[in-house]
């Protein structure tokens, strides 16, 4: 029965702009609408807030720099969550993998800082990838070989990662000359070049890892849709039985996809630590891993969508700081509310508007074709 339904239901293709532009836009609108109501409740003007937000994110060169700096993190975590999604896995652990990636970056920047920068940069990248991938490997292995549910294990691994980071900063890597749990600063020769080092723009945290994120996005597209390895990951994600039938090993691909995912998440450490903070600190992952879920969902696991969603969240983060600064009763947590609402509408409630919009499109298209013929 279901078969027949699918057969005829699919006769009228829904064009890309409906699936990839209109529906995400409607979901975003719904999230913003509810956010506006929250702002009304706490006694501010939502339209005013939106104006401040947009200006704060894009209104002047410095703002744009900050926005793109946040965007960089979200591209990394968004791609990380997306590659796991393509393999049918829900990686809630990007946060912990980013933390481990950061530890890897820090170790390179702290202990190999006598090396020239053109060696440090690839070395730190490799360390970030390896540490992040290793942290993802364990849940992946447990899922692939022992059937432990990856959602739960990655949640647990976030907590364990946080404990490790705290332990390292409190007991091992703590700056002997400091009080707070953070490492000594990296020396300047290990820092990533800023954008403002090259082009005329105000000083912002935006650094070359943004370019790296874009390169990775292109690589992601190529890998997923144009190589046999990406093909295998997608087969496993869509239909594990078909994978086994066709000789594609689900466990191998689960582990590979999760390690790529963890490696991508680990790059947050590059941007945050080597690029901006220049030392290992607590909580540098700042929820980027969780937002990565929203980014991947909104971006429909496609690099272009992920870039746009990352930009949106980058703008929210940057504009949100401005908002907290400018408006009396709004603080930075408002951004978290908007984030959560976007995840709610574009993720959990994705089936709320979609059927209605698609049906409306079908009616519209049918009327059009009838008119034509």
């Amino acid at each position: 029965m279901a078969e027949e339904q699918v057969k005829f239901g699919a006769t009228l293709k829904i064009p890309g702009w409906v699936s990839y532009a209109l529906i995400p836009f409607v979901n975003l609108l719904a999230a913003l609408l509810i956010s506006g109501i929250v702002i009304l409740i706490i006694g501010d003007n939502p339209l005013e807030a939106l104006k401040v937000l947009i200006y704060g994110a894009f209104g002047y060169p410095e703002a744009i720099g900050y926005t793109l700096y946040y965007t960089t993190n979200f591209i990394f975590t968004g791609l990380a969550v997306a590659i796991a999604f393509h393999c049918g896995l829900f990686n809630i652990g990007a946060e912990g993998q980013a933390a481990l990636g950061g530890i890897g970056v820090s170790l390179v920047c702290l202990y190999f800082d006598n090396l020239p920068i053109w060696i440090i940069i690839p070395l730190a990248m490799i360390a970030a990838a390896i540490f992040g991938a290793a942290w993802a490997y364990i849940p992946a292995y447990l899922q692939a070989k022992r059937g432990s549910h990856i959602v739960i294990t990655t949640i647990m691994f976030n907590f364990i990662a946080a404990s490790i980071l705290t332990y390292l900063l409190v007991d091992i890597l703590i700056d002997p000359n400091g009080q707070s749990p953070e490492s000594r600063p990296f020396i300047e020769t290990t820092w990533l070049p800023y954008f403002h080092d090259f082009i005329a723009m105000p000083n912002t945290p935006l650094n070359i890892s943004f370019i790296y994120a874009l390169v990775l996005s292109a690589g992601f597209y190529f890998l997923v849709w144009h190589t046999r390895w990406g093909y295998e990951i997608r087969v496993v994600g869509q239909n594990e039985a078909a994978a086994r039938y066709s000789g594609i090993s689900p466990s191998k691909n689960i582990i590979i996809a999760m390690m790529i995912s963890g490696g991508l998440a680990g790059f947050v450490g590059i941007n945050e630590l080597q690029g901006v903070q220049h030392r290992l600190i607590l909580d540098f992952t700042g929820g980027y891993g969780f937002v990565g879920i929203a980014v991947a969902l909104m971006g429909r696991n496609h690099p272009i969508g992920i870039f746009l969603a990352a930009l949106l969240f980058g703008a929210l983060y940057q504009g949100g700081s401005e908002l907290a600064f400018e408006m009396r009763s709004i603080n930075k947590e408002m951004v978290i509310v908007i984030q959560g609402l976007i995840i709610l509408f574009s993720g959990a409630l994705e089936h709320m508007f979609r059927p209605k919009i698609e049906a409306a499109y079908r009616r519209f298209a049918r009327v059009q074709t009838m008119g034509a013929s």
Binding site: K7, F8, A10, R228, Y231, A242, S246
Partner: protein, 517 residues
Amino acid sequence: MSEQSPALELRRINKSFGPVHANKNISLSVDRGSIHGIVGENGAGKSTLMSIVYGFYQADSGDIYVNGQICPIENPQSSIEAGIGMVHQHFMLVDTFTVLENIILGVENGYRLAGGLASARKELVRLEQEYALEVNVDAIVGDLPVGLRQRVEILKALYRGAEILILDEPTGVLTPQEADHLFRILDTLRDQGKTVILITHKLREIMAITDSVSVMRRGEMVAHVKTSETSQPALAELMVGRSVLLQVEKKLANPKDTLVSIRNLNYEDTDGVPRLKDINLDLKAGEILGIAGVSGNGQSELLEVLGGILTPKSGSIRFEGQELVDSKAFTARNLRKIGFGHVPEDRQRSGLVLSFSANECTILGYHDEPEYNRGLCLDRKAMVETCRNYIKKYDVRPPDPYLKVSGFSGGNQQKLVLAREMEQNPDVLLVGQPTRGVDIGAIEFIHKQLIMMRDAGKAILVVSVEIDEVMSLADRIAVMFDGGIVGELSAAEATETKLGLMMAGVKDAQSETKAAI
């Protein structure tokens, strides 16, 4: 309610799913105390119709009368209240519950369980005796064999006071002998005044047990006849709308060398349960070996072991003299490379990726072949080109290599799988349920293709739960029961009775039936 009014009457039922008109103006009348059969091909709309009667779906228009009274059925609850019970094709039981808990689910009789369980226990003793339906009410359902689970389903319906019992393809999971037992139960039910509706696509069953029969075709009711006044060929013609060749046209096989020899093959599942026991089989070039058996007796595992999906526990599989088991090469991918093609039993579950386009599914299992790769890249152009050729050669509709696989009908999906596996020109072709859920036109086409492969000198293994299909396709038939091979017959020796007995695990069915003659 008058004595003459039918137990169940449907008037002009219509139901559409989107543009699919699954039930068109269906009218039906079922007499009280009778067994009424409904036959039709897969997708003829039988299950939809019964789902409407059971309240699972709502009809778009039309009326349902129970005992002459109009009876609006909105959900399963109202159907149960109207005295209708249904035994679904896939049992609706909670495996972790006891029989008793399953039976009272939904009719617990108060918010506390204790009272309901006690009274149900008493009532069940009575029902079991009245209808000869013994079952241990404290057994965990998941531990029961299939036949008993079906009995639980029947008890469930009777416990709810069902006067009309609908059974949807009830014999699909039973041996012919178990099916006979079920029919005796249905007889008893009829004698006690219950009304039974039997949905099936097996004409033999209709002839054996029903009093009257209705035939559905493409969503329409095309005939109502008394069983005593019709015959299998007549019903088949009504089902299909034209006279059907029940026999596949083929020349006598000309078997050559043994390509694959399987010796003492054993397989255990992940729970350590033996699923294949000392299997010995030979696949010969130019011959179709059919595997008959009730589903769940190891056929699936046999196919999956030969396809390289499962790893055998022990035993040997030799291909052209070369041992395959115990070598690194025993994977699905390598088996394909050395010339095994595999059409899986369930195309949607494993043979295809429904969300992929047709051309992406064209390379499933062959995605690392040089012809589909250029350097690091997949060669998308080659994929589409190959897919276009398959579509043309196998007459797949619609002819669109970019269409998502879910957009093709069952028969066309099956053709896509067949094309992929046959066009790689394998020496050995494994085929599971070649025509499950496929319409008659496509069945003929698929059977012809298989015969052509055979005549081209390929070794073919066909697994099917349809005895008729095995008998008409295979040159040699092996019967599986409980993970083992019960025996082997040549197509000429095979009769339905012999196969039926063997499917029930009777080892010397051959000699027994011979002795009987």
